[in-house]
Each structure stands twice: as C-alpha cells, then as structure tokens.
C-alpha cells in the first residue's frame, strides 16, 4: 500500500512536471504558394520548418509544435487578413518566411501590434531592420542592402560604373534600387536612369530596350523570381550582353537559374546567403530536403526558414516559455548556430548576421550534375555583409 502510494505520487508529480514544462507552439508559414515566388519559398518553406522541428526533436524536449501554412498571393491585404486571423483566433505564436516585401512590411506591423514573433526569411526590403524595424521581428536570410553591397560593389569593381535599373514597381524593387544606387554612387559610379515595371510582369522587351538605349554599362534587374527569369531570358534575346552591356540580376535564386538553364544564365554574378553545395552539412540537409520537395534543392529562403525556426525553438527551450518578449530577448542574446548558415548573431535591430557569398553561374560545360550551378567568387564576412547598425535609422538602436 505504501509502495502503491509512492508510485501514484511520483506519477502525479511527473504529470505535473510534464504539464509545467510542455509548451505548445504554433508556427504559421505564410508565403506565396501559387504565384511567381512559389518555387523559391512556397511548400518548400513549410517542409523546411517541419525539418527544423524534427531535427530539433522538439517533442522530446517538451515543446509541442504544430505548423500551419497559407498562401498570401503576394497581396498585402490578403497577407494581413491571414496574419490577423492566425494571431487572433488560431493562436499562432510565430509567423515565418513571408516573401514579397510589401506583404512582409504589413505582417511586421501586425506582429508588433499583437506582440508575437515574425521570423522573416523571404522578404528582401532592408526597411524591416531600418525605419520599419520592430522588437518582434528577426530578418534572417538576406536584405536589399546586402544584395546591393555584394553584387553592386562587385560590378563597379569590374568597371561597371554606369547603371540603368529595371525595377519591380513595389516596396521590394524600390528598396533594392535605392540601396544599389547608394552603393554604385558611393563607389564612384553613376546611375543614368531607371524604369519601373508593373509587378508581376511578363514582357520586358520595352524596358530592356530603354535600358539598351541608355548606354549604361550595367543593366541592374531590381526584381525577383518569375520577373527576373523573364527579364534575363529576354535580355539574352535582345542581345544586351552581346552589345557590351553587363547584366546584374540583383536578386537571383538557384531555382531561377534552374528555370533559365545554364545556356542563358551562365556568367551572371549574384549575391546569396546559402548554397546547397557549400560543405558536407549543407549537402546532407539539401539531400534530405530534395527528397521531400519534389526534387528541388533548397533556396536560400527555405534554408533561412529552417535555420530561423531552429533558433526560435532553441530560445523557447532555454526560456521554458513562449512569451514573445522573453523569447526575442533570448534569441538576440544567444549566438546562433545551425548546419546551414554556421555561427552567427542577431543584432538589436533584428538583423541576423552571417557571411554572404558572391556567386557566379557556371558555364554549361563546368556543371557536373543537375543543380551544380554556382561557383563561389568571394565570401563577404558577416561584419561587412550587412548595413552597419547605426546607418539603418532603426528606433530600437540608441
């Protein structure tokens, strides 16, 4: 009887301990699942988040994670509605990914208002850690400043000192054009003009002709995904590079190169945060990912979703709670470490710091296997890769 009482008591205490330590976390992966950014994020980002939860062994650590996902269709109004609904009625704690800067800026505001957490991997606008910065947002993978700094400086260093921009007409394109112009001018180059194309676009011939007519040495494509694919394809058709102008795809993903084919994409210089073939760890992850994602290697956005969710779960485990303020403080205090981006830190303005890379797209005869597309031209160290803390104009930085 005594023994029985002991067993009961210890079971009860175990159960109570379980109740005290089990944290239920709900992660919402919000991105484009059907439009021009669906291949660089989309279902792949959901898979990446799931893999982060599995690799972290969240359940063993007393964290019950559920993942939901939705399609924001690249529309800020649609994205805002989903974010509000998730936070208000579906108890979502974290929104991850959110490519398309205009949608991300809206989600950034809502997340701050509701005091939740936003792990931004997909969006590019550097305003997320600049004038729109928020104590509730971590901007993980890349931003327009880093892209401009990488590709812009490299092109100017190669002699491309006059630029003409073909820019997607929304928050992201504007930010990328602005940040790249600043880099070009700071390096002694000139910006001769820009044309803003409707987003998303299909026919870029008119804009490319204007770029050709400008006589600029570099045609900077400040767009992404399907827009970049179409623009690069048509630039090759109109003989932009044969005419002596260089093409700078300021934001280009491995999936875009896959869609273009090396024949058309070869020689393009681009800035990125992640490449699947970097080392054994990235190759191991990418092989597992590819199996689950219809044969596609991870884009840097999907890699960023994996790494940011992993870091978030570590912070929840360390805090033992999912309170947004405490978890954010922990995320910024703990150094980050994951197999895809290596070691890094998160700055006060929410900017995640890691090395960035300057890649060049291989020639068809250099490519040994499918997805063997990039050679690394330079590594931009973490402390040089992103905008200095003081220059962003973020109100969190005193």
């Amino acid at each position: 009887m005594k023994k029985m009482g002991f067993v009961l008591a210890s079971t009860a205490s175990l159960l109570m301990a379980g109740a005290a330590y089990a944290t239920d976390v709900k992660i919402g992966v919000l991105n484009d699942r059907s439009g021009i950014y669906a291949d660089i994020a989309g279902e792949g980002s959901v898979i990446a988040a799931q893999m982060a939860v599995e690799d972290f062994k969240a359940t063993d650590k007393g964290i019950n994670v559920s993942i939901v996902s939705a399609d924001h269709q690249n529309k800020p109004d649609v994205g805002s509605n989903i974010a509000r609904q998730w936070y208000d009625t579906e108890n979502v704690d974290v929104i991850a990914d959110v490519p398309t800067s205009s949608v991300a800026l809206a989600v950034n505001e809502i997340t701050k208002e509701k005091n939740k957490i936003f792990l931004a991997s997909g969006p590019a606008s550097s305003d997320l850690t600049g004038k729109a910065c928020s104590p509730n947002t971590v901007h993980w993978t890349y931003d327009t400043w880093a892209l401009a700094n990488g590709t812009g400086s490299a092109m100017v260093a190669q002699g491309g000192d006059s630029w003409f921009f073909v820019t997607a007409d929304y928050a992201f394109g504007h930010a990328l054009e602005r940040d790249t112009s600043a880099v070009v001018e700071a390096s002694g180059g000139k910006v001769l003009g820009a044309v803003r194309h409707p987003f998303p676009g299909q026919d870029f011939s008119s804009f490319l002709l204007q770029a050709q007519g400008s006589g600029a040495k570099v045609v900077g494509l400040a767009n992404a995904g399907g827009d970049t694919i179409n623009a690069v394809k048509q630039a090759s058709e109109f003989g932009i590079t044969q005419g002596g102008q260089a093409l700078a795809a300021l934001l280009m993903f491995i999936n875009d190169v896959h869609a273009l084919g090396l024949e058309v994409a070869q020689g393009l210089v681009l800035t990125g945060a992640f490449y699947w073939d970097k080392d054994d760890q990235t190759r191991e992850f990418s092989a597992r990912f590819q199996e689950r994602n219809a044969g596609q290697k991870p884009s840097m956005i999907e890699a960023g979703v994996y790494a940011s969710v992993l870091h978030y779960l570590k912070a929840v485990e360390a805090v033992g709670d999912k309170d947004a303020a405490k978890v954010m403080a922990k995320m910024k205090e703990m150094p980050t470490e994951d197999p895809l981006f290596g070691k890094g830190t998160i700055r006060a303005d929410g900017r995640k710091l890691h090395d960035m890379y300057l890649f060049r797209v291989k020639k068809p005869d250099q490519s040994k296997a499918p997805w063997d597309y990039f050679e690394t031209v330079a590594t931009i160290p973490a402390d040089k890769a992103f905008r200095p803390l003081a220059e962003g104009g973020c109100s969190l930085v005193k």
């Binding site: 059907s34 803003r196 676009g201 008119s206 399907g226 003989g239 999936n255 869609a259």
Partner: protein
C-alpha cells in the same frame, strides 16, 4: 533631330514595333476567343490555360521526343485543339441552352484545374526552352535591335489572323459558320451538321490559343501561370473590340499592343492598367465595343 515629348524618334519607333509584337499575341488570342464566342456563345475562360498548354506542348515535344520548334508550330496547335474538342464534347456542350454565366464558370474552373495540375508537376519558375538556331540572333534596324524570334512572331501571327479572317468572311465554310451563328435551327434544316460545326469551331479557337503558346515558348518563361497573366488583358481586348467580331478583335489586339507599348515609354508604371482604362471608356461610349453590333 526632332523629339516627341522628350523621347527621341528611334526609341519611339522601337517601342511601337515592340507594341505591335505584343499586339500579335493579343490578336491571335482574342481572335480565338471571338471565334468561340461568336458561334458558341461561350466565354472561354480556359483560353489562357490552353495557351499555356501550347507552350508546354512545344517544350514536351522538344524534351521528351526531341521534336524541334518548327515541327511544334504545326503539330502542337492541332493537339491542343483536340483537347479542346474533347472538353467541348464531354462538358461544354451541356451548357449551350443555359445562361453565359454557366459556361464562364465551367471554363474558369477547368482553367484552374489545368493550371493547378501543371503547377503540381512543373512548379511555377518555368522551364527553359531552347529556341531553334534560326530564331537566335537578329537584325539591327538602326533604331533598334530586332531579334529574329520577335520578327517571326509578328509574321506568323499576321498570317494566321488574315487566314482566319479570310476563311470566316470569304469562304463557303465561313458562310455556313456565320449563318449557324445567326440561326442554327434554320441552317440545320438545310442539312448542315450544326453540332459538328460548333465542335470544330471550338477546337479551332483553342488551336489558335495553342499556336500563340508555341510562339511564346522561345520568348517567355514556359510556366503554368503564363496564360493566367495574359488572359485578363486579352478579355479586355475582346470587350473593347466587340464580343464576337473577328476583324474587330484582330485590329484591337494590334492597336492595344501599340498603346500599351507607348505607355511603357511615357508612364511605365501605368502600362498594366492602360488597357483597362480604355476598356472602361469604350464601354461608356460604345457598350457593344468598337466593332461590335449592338443587339
């Protein structure tokens, strides 16, 4: 050297020519829609998906069977047309006696299913299509560099548009078609197989969409959404030209391509909406469209 509103004439000529080339796509696509609407009274929302099928058809022939572009120009449109005939026989014909709205909903739903199917298998980024050697390179016209691929688009679509116009307006078959549009019962009474005529017309309209898709394959990214982006504009073209008007849709297609091209020079941000602004204005002044007959 004269300038027009600060734009040098070379730039202007270049943009006008590009406008005409884009107009060729609008013309071929809106022609197909006009033919289908004229005879079937169906607003064929599947048209964008069928255009996409044309581009994918060319890609599949090249990548699975090694059949090149020039064969695809002749092989793919009939194949896409046959898929249209199957749809017409199995589904669309059941709706002829109902309101336009039912046909619109059915074809819209079919478009979503077809596009979703391709998205599942091929993703959205698209597939590389290697143009044939003849379409590589181009000519320097002095005011612009004209790629062969674009020159071919304008020539091919002009031929197809004119041939279609000729068949419908000037031949006996066309006369049957036009008569069947006016009064199917009467034409049937003369021993003409009207249902067969209707089916073949739908197949022909769809084949035109497939043809435009093949033309697009070397130029645009071959991806499942390529038609959805274009079809809304093409519907606006059809509305402006007048629903069911053959010549109207051809002329409006080229004309709106020109206007859109000019907008891209003077106010590029507005180039996505200019066609819809014109549509609104035309509907206010001439509700039946520029070339349509008011009923």
């Amino acid at each position: 050297m004269f300038e027009l509103l600060g734009i040098p004439p070379q730039v202007l000529f270049g943009q006008l020519l590009l406008g005409l080339i884009n107009g060729s796509f609008y013309a071929v696509l809106s022609l197909g829609l006009a033919v289908i609407f004229g005879l079937l009274n169906i607003i064929n929302f599947t048209h964008g998906a069928q255009y996409m099928l044309g581009a994918f058809g060319a890609w599949m022939l090249l990548n699975y069977l090694g059949v090149g572009y020039w064969w695809a120009v002749f092989i793919v449109p009939p194949i896409v047309g046959v898929t249209g005939i199957v749809l017409e026989r199995v589904l669309i014909r059941r709706l002829y006696h109902l309101d336009h709205l039912y046909g619109l909903l059915l074809t819209f739903g079919l478009a979503l299913i077809i596009v979703g199917f391709f998205r599942q298998f091929f993703g959205v980024s698209g597939l590389p299509y290697r143009p044939p050697p003849l379409l590589n390179g181009g000519y320097n016209l002095g005011f612009m560099y004209l790629p062969n691929s674009r020159a071919w688009v304008i020539v091919a679509s002009l031929i197809v548009c004119l041939a279609t116009w000729f068949i419908i307006e000037k031949t006996r078959l066309g006369a049957y078609l036009r008569a069947a549009t006016e009064n199917p019962t009467m034409v049937g009474a003369f021993g003409i197989n009207v249902p067969l005529l209707v089916t073949l017309t739908y197949g022909f309209g769809v084949a035109l969409a497939g043809f435009a898709g093949v033309l697009a394959a070397p130029i645009y990214a071959v991806n499942p959404n390529m038609g959805a982006d274009l079809i809304i504009v093409v519907f606006a073209v059809v509305v402006i030209g007048g629903m069911g008007s053959i010549l109207g849709s051809i002329l409006t297609g080229f004309g709106l391509g020109l206007i859109e091209g000019l907008t891209r020079v003077f106010y590029p941000e507005g180039s996505a909406v200019v066609i819809f602004v014109i549509m609104a204005l035309v509907l206010l002044v001439k509700p039946a469209g520029l070339f349509g007959r008011s009923v």
